[in-house]
């Protein structure tokens, strides 16, 4: 079984992301593996452990530093990595990114053999669009079970659970398929010292656009379907009045709510 797990490199939410003149994120600024993408990596590793002969490939599309996202996955236990890097990709929107990811999966198939399962996070921690996985499935014509909080493999059938507000649905797909997972799925492992050392020797392939058979016009700002007009820091919220409860805290709170016509 060959599993490809998508790992996105995102700016560190605790730091200040930087933006370029065209209002796109400066992907060269300090970043890390999108936390939500640790869950698909963990699922890939557990499924691989349960299979006789399995291989986990971590794949990212992003600037030079994005290789850090792949490296983290290798440290957790993935077998090899693929990094799609090309200046022309900068500024790609969701659909343009999905096209690169879909082409990258085809490249992996050409080089390594058929891919049985693509695992992704259900959303990235920066753009948070949740559309990339579905669009990759659409472009590759693969069955997709998305936003799942549990997944179990039985032969060629993957049985998943999708939790909603009013109901929980069981969704079944036949491999090959794409599955996007939530942070309810598992507890991602921490890389061990051994894992960190071993990662240094694992194969890591780098491809540029032309090697994927994509044209520059299909990606980046030129290939995007949406355009960012403006980006601004959200107005900082002002800390308001803070009272210490000395026996009247609840009453004071309700007086304030009443003054704002909230009760």
């Amino acid at each position: 079984m060959r599993i490809v797990t998508f790992v996105k490199y995102v700016p560190d939410a605790a730091g200040d992301p930087e933006f370029l003149d065209d209002n796109t994120v400066d992907r060269e600024s300090d970043g890390l593996l999108s936390e939500i993408d640790e869950y698909p990596v963990e699922l890939a590793l557990t499924l691989a452990e349960d299979a006789d002969d399995a291989e986990v490939i971590a794949l990212t599309v992003g600037p030079d530093d994005a290789v850090d996202a792949v490296r983290k996955a290798l440290q957790m236990g993935a077998d090899s990595g693929v990094h799609i890097v090309d200046d022309a990709i900068a500024g790609s929107d969701a659909l343009a990114t999905a096209k690169v990811l879909a082409a990258a999966v085809k490249k992996v198939e050409e080089e390594e053999g058929p891919v049985d399962l693509i695992l992704t996070g259900f959303a990235s921690t920066d753009g948070n669009t949740s559309v990339v996985p579905t669009q990759v499935a659409e472009l590759l014509g693969l069955p997709a079970a998305t936003v799942v909080s549990a997944a179990e493999l039985d032969g060629q059938t993957l049985k998943t659970r999708r939790d909603g507000d009013t109901s929980s649905r069981t969704v079944e797909v036949q491999l090959p398929a794409l599955v996007s997972v939530t942070d309810q799925t598992n507890d991602p492992r921490y890389p061990s010292f051994k894992g960190i050392m071993a990662a240094k020797k694992k194969p890591l392939e780098e491809y540029e656009l032309s090697e994927l058979g994509l044209d520059e016009g299909e990606v980046g700002a030129a290939g995007s379907y949406t355009e960012v007009v403006e980006i601004a820091a959200a107005p900082p919220r002002q800390a308001g009045e803070v009272v210490t409860d000395e026996g009247e805290g609840g009453n004071q709170l309700v007086e304030w709510l009443a003054s704002k016509k909230l009760v």
């Binding site: 948070n128 579905t134 669009q135 507000d165 069981t170 009272v243």
Partner: protein, 316 residues
Amino acid sequence: MSEVLVLVDHVGGTVQKSTFELLTAAAQLGEPVAVFVGSDADAQTAAADLAKYGAAKVLVASDASLTEFLVAPQGELVASLVESRQPAAVLASASADNTEALARSAAKTGSGVMTNVSDLDGEGQGTQSVFAGAYTVKSKVIKGVPHILLKPNSIEAAEASGAGAVEAVDFTASDAAKTAKITAVEEKASSGRPSLTEAAAVVSGGRGTGGDFGPVEQFADAIGAAVGASRAAVDAGWYPHSSQVGQTGKVVSPQLYVAAGISGAIQHRAGMQTSKNIVAINKDDEAPIFELSDYGVVGDLFTVLPQATEAVNARK
């Protein structure tokens, strides 16, 4: 005037408030046309309400595959309507299912998609919040037919009379779309409280509740609020994940958000910091939640909330 397609959210023909908001938003861009997935009988019930908010037509698709399989058939339906009707835009509320239906239609029709939009102007420019709510982005679709997902509660629904003419859509999903089969559906018991994303007020509890959500629920009921929870409370099994507020839970934007026993981690803020008024109750006067609160009480939620509940009830 060109049509603007609006995907209807409904439960057995009862149209959700989010759809009325979409119809209002759609009217700025063209003629609102509702797309209803469900039975003919339910569509008839829904049509009257949809007309009240300006739907000129109600297109009904009843192919069984639309509910037997996950989203791909819906994506196909939307794409076929986009191709046959060439609307000015497609609008839907930003639920997981709708997001994926529009993502698929966008990929099929070569269109741009905008997700989690909190405001939409007459030119189709949308406002979104990114990086866990720290930044606000304005963007627009520049190719194809704009596919726009609006967050519930971000636009005020306004009544407007529409013809509401019901029209059946001839749609059958392809076999390629019937690959993610829904084999079981487990309904969840309803709490009887307003839904988290549509409620005007939300009261959330965190690790500070120590697992006792009683005071949180009682205060919520006194003010007619929905109940939310931090991930710490959800992970501990104290409250269901469908009530989680934050980056990997619900993003809410009510008139009033009350955080009780919640520290205010960045991932939690991502789900509530656009609320109009924020109140925090926390024992620790240095909890980061106070930095974004309009009103804060440093104290024990087990004494502050019951007193507040009593005070609210006394005012009634």
